[in-house]
């Protein structure tokens, strides 16, 4: 009897054609907002964003997360999101949920303004939203303009996990599949897995490499083994969930190359050997896992003509696939990333 059951289970179809079609269509490539707009991403891609701290890396992650948790449309207003879950693995342990909340509110207000055409008064409420003191005022004011229910449902699609060391990261990854399944039972699928930032435990892992007990071929907790297992676990996750992985990587060595990107462009044209503009420290198993590479550096201050306050400007370069264009962007006071020429 049991064998019969097993055989029937085996023969039974995994999914119907309709389910498959919706899955395949759902897996289509999508474009993120600038500054990540140059290359379309699809499930299975692993994007690595490198830059020294601070170069707005977490900012870019949060912006991408918002694009993922927003619905496509809601009550007739177009938001252009993917309506999927985001899983944010915080290894730096300094994620600030206020920033996510502020940026999400700003996006909701902006979409409403464009959708309904008469939300000119929102400008000021989003302008003061950073001030704690004025927050209550802006909250009561903005209640009228964005949908609280939509806001809550978006925030609930953002899933967060923090890890204080590599062992916590490993045990989280090992049990993540079950926990994702529990979350997905509520409706949405996980779309993006974010890691901020991947090299966080580099030094402590390197130290444990030197402490390795080298007896009876026992696998040690060395840096290469740990990263290999991380990659392996992530590959397993990506086999069952259609995910895009976006990881940031803080440079841990001082930059020795000229900070001026023009110099660098010249030198990279001369020798095609493709030296990365930073010192690579991740083991080869991770480097082989990454499919897209982005490098960000600070490119001086951008002085706005109106105010005397200067904003930090950054330049972003695609290393893989290699693109010739360099995008420059600034982070303005409503925590938005604005491209400029």
């Amino acid at each position: 009897m049991r064998e019969h059951e097993a055989a029937r289970d085996w023969i039974r179809s995994d999914e119907t054609a309709k389910q498959m079609l919706s899955r395949v269509l759902g897996d289509r490539a999508f474009l993120l907002l600038p500054p990540l707009h140059r290359v379309p991403l699809r499930a299975g891609n692993v994007v690595e964003i490198t830059g020294s701290s601070p170069t707005a890396k977490t900012q870019i992650l949060i912006q991408a997360a918002i694009a993922c948790i927003l619905p496509k449309t809601w009550n007739g207003v177009h938001y252009g999101g993917l309506e999927k879950l985001v899983l944010f693995l915080d290894l730096d342990c300094r994620f600030d949920v206020m920033r996510l909340s502020d940026m999400l509110k700003h996006r909701l207000l902006e979409a409403n303004r464009i959708g309904n055409g008469a939300w000119w008064q929102l400008e000021e409420s989003s302008g003061v939203k950073n001030c704690r003191g004025a927050q209550d005022k802006s909250k009561s004011k903005s209640k009228i303009v964005y949908d609280e229910e939509l806001y809550v449902s978006c925030m609930k699609r953002f899933l967060y996990l923090r890890c204080y060391d590599s062992l916590e990261l490993l045990s989280s990854l090992k049990t993540l599949h079950y926990r994702i399944r529990l979350q997905e039972a509520c409706g949405s699928q996980v779309g993006v897995l974010m890691i901020d930032s991947i090299g966080a435990f580099h030094w402590t892992d390197r130290l444990s490499s030197s402490l390795a007990l080298d007896k009876n071929n026992r696998k040690s907790l060395s840096l290469t083994n740990v990263v290999e297992t991380i990659v392996q676990e992530m590959k397993k996750l990506m086999r069952v969930h259609s995910l895009v992985v976006i990881a940031t990587k803080a440079t841990i060595y001082e930059e020795k190359y000229p900070t001026n990107e023009n110099n660098r462009k010249l030198s990279s044209n001369n020798d095609k050997a493709q030296q990365p503009p930073f010192r690579e420290f991740m083991p080869s198993s991770w480097q082989a896992f990454v499919t897209h590479k982005i490098f960000i550096r600070k490119s001086g201050d951008h002085h706005q003509s109106s105010g005397q306050q200067s904003l930090s400007a950054y330049s972003l370069e695609w290393l893989q696939p290699q693109l010739s264009s360099i995008d420059r962007f600034i982070v303005d006071d409503v925590s938005k990333l604005d491209p400029f020429k």
Binding site: R99, M155, Y164, K174, T175, W203, N217
Partner: protein, 321 residues
């Protein structure tokens, strides 16, 4: 985490034969378990006589790991934790508080960077006085350079004319600990963590610890850095994470100070401790002082939710020292 046999008491499935099977694959501890491919291990278990029992053991191990993991929180739960448990503490200086939109935030590590005699220690002592007086929280002050002065802190309490009883009460909330090397530092912090955990278990909420100050953290870390070895940097990162963990898990604001070093070529100074340390603090503040007119400038180098580059200046009252 521990050798597997310590788990047998509560989980009889992890018995001698399961452990034998594991050790034949080089798995002796729970950590070993983490760096192995469990699917592969289950496939090996399949070939054994007692396959079902072994696979059950692997499942039990996985569920033990899951219990140890931190819960997956969604955005609303994070927001709730922030609003309920992570308050801002006044640093005692109005300019700085408005620059930081309220002051030092519980759960975060704030770093003060500045050259020698730019007012870092003064800032720390003022913050200690302010938190002990206005927020009625206790302060854990780690002094690494013998620069702590109870008399100076007393001056910060509502000016210097405060009633003796108030002064006494406020000062009793501040405990000073002298630490001269990083190993003692780990001891002190781990002791603190244990104490806090037992306090939380017994629900002692009276005058809870709200501010942890380390003045200065760079004098503990600098001596172990240098050279090409990774040991110094590993200790630095471990200390940083211990501080972040204390801050977040026990809702404490952590304030550390760092000195500056000359960058060489262009004569500019920059924070000490280098590139790796940059990813530790949530907030980095740069202090600088113009000695001619006693004007002190504080600027944001890095903030998790604010733009960097904003500054505030203040006239200093150093003369009362």
């Amino acid at each position: 985490m521990a050798p597997l046999k310590h788990l047998e008491m509560e989980n009889p499935i992890i018995d001698a034969s399961f452990r034998d099977f594991c050790s034949s694959h080089g798995i002796l501890t729970v950590e070993d378990f983490l760096i192995h491919d469990l699917y592969e291990l289950a496939a090996f278990a399949e070939r054994q006589v007692d396959a079902d029992r072994l696979k059950e053991g692997i499942t039990v191990m996985l569920s033990l790991l899951e219990v140890k993991c931190r819960p997956l929180l969604n955005g609303m739960e994070l927001l709730e934790d922030l609003q309920r448990n992570k308050h801002t503490l006044s640093s005692g200086d109005n300019g700085t508080d408005s620059l930081l939109q309220g002051g030092l935030r519980e759960g975060q590590v704030t770093e003060l960077v500045g050259p020698s005699s730019s007012g870092k220690t003064q800032f720390c002592m003022q913050a200690a006085a302010s938190v002990a007086e206005k927020q009625e929280g206790s302060v854990f002050y780690i002094d690494t350079g013998n620069s702590f002065s109870a008399r100076r802190i007393a001056q910060f309490i509502c000016g210097s004319s405060a009633a003796a009883a108030l002064q006494k009460r406020v000062l009793s909330r501040i405990s000073c600990h002298t630490v001269y090397d990083i190993y003692t530092m780990f001891d002190t912090l781990q002791g603190l963590e244990v104490a806090l955990r037992s306090q939380e278990q017994m629900n002692v909420n009276e005058c809870r610890l709200r501010l942890l100050i380390v003045d200065s953290i760079s004098s503990l870390i600098t001596p172990i850095l240098g050279g090409s070895g990774s040991q110094g940097r590993a200790l630095m990162v471990a200390l940083g994470y211990l501080l972040k963990k204390l801050a977040h898990e026990h809702n404490i604001a952590v304030l550390v100070t760092n000195h500056t070093v000359g960058a060489g070529e262009n004569g500019k100074t920059k924070p000490a401790l280098g590139e790796t340390w940059k990813s530790i603090p949530h907030v980095r503040l740069m202090l600088s002082r113009d000695n001619r007119n006693n004007i002190c400038t504080i600027s944001i180098l890095k903030h998790t939710s604010m733009l960097s580059g904003q500054t505030v200046t203040r006239k200093d009252n150093q003369q009362c020292l």
